[in-house]
Amino acid sequence: MELQNLSFLNTQTITVIAFKAFAIVFSLFYLVYAIVIAKQTQVMNKTLEVKNNHVFFVISSVQITIGLILIILAIILV
């Protein structure tokens, strides 16, 4: 009876679930990394002010946005 209930868990389903779980976890890790780097970029910009230093802030912000997009993709696409 129990085996019949678990029959939907074929190899393909397990692979899909495992891949989705890994995708979400790694995307979350990436987002945390992007936030840390963005914060540290602000510290570095403050320590050494160069011309056009707003470029660093923009790139770091883009990195965070990509991190968020990755999480959405991991949930929806995969």
């Binding site: 990436y30 780097i37 570095m44 050494l48 011309k51 990509i66 990755l70 696409l77």
Partner: protein
């Protein structure tokens, strides 16, 4: 910021004379005369790694084609490219913000170890006792880069600039300033 006379940026901004740069701890009468970074040739390893990792990603595509669905392959590719670009950005930041700064009053060594840890060492020009430049080997001689070691008086911390461009020029500039 105000000293723009004879401003020059050489070797991909690894040797900047009178740059348009301001320090967090810069005094009112202090002028930044020189900003030095590691020679671009010393950064080739991570550029090479990026190319290798990109090729590996293409190979991975071929290998995973039979195991994963199209959506999963698409996500793996996007994720791989994002990680690669982050690796490039991380290494660029490490290079760009690890600088040696020479002002008319002091010498500052700013290190961001792995981007996360900040270490700032400084020595006043009047405390400097000895300056040594070391440049050896085929690559260092050919591309004119090396280490500069600045020894300070007493218990003050010594400063070392590693793999910087034009080490002998840097020693000459610091020696001139110390001699004044």
């Amino acid at each position: 910021m105000e000293n723009n006379n004879n401003q020059s940026h050489q070797l991909l901004h690894s040797y900047c004379l009178n740059p348009d740069v301001r320090l967090e701890t810069q005094g009112v009468n202090e002028q930044v005369l020189l900003v030095i970074r590691a020679h671009p040739i010393t950064q080739l390893h991570w550029i090479f790694n990026t190319i290798i990792l990109f090729i590996l990603l293409i190979v991975l595509n071929i290998l995973l084609f039979s195991f994963l669905t199209t959506r999963q392959i698409l996500f793996t590719n996007i994720f791989g490219i994002v990680i690669l670009l982050s690796y490039v950005w991380f290494n660029f930041l490490s290079w760009f913000f690890n600088v040696g700064v020479v002002t008319n009053l002091r010498i500052i060594d700013i290190d961001f170890i792995s981007v996360i840890y900040k270490e700032i060492t400084e020595a006043r020009l009047d405390k400097i006792e000895d300056i040594t430049s070391k440049s050896g080997g085929y690559f260092q001689s050919f591309f004119d880069y090396g280490n500069v070691f600045i020894q300070t008086a007493g218990t003050e911390i010594n400063i070392e600039f590693e793999n910087i461009s034009k080490p002998s020029e840097v020693v000459r500039i610091i020696s001139d300033l110390v001699g004044k």
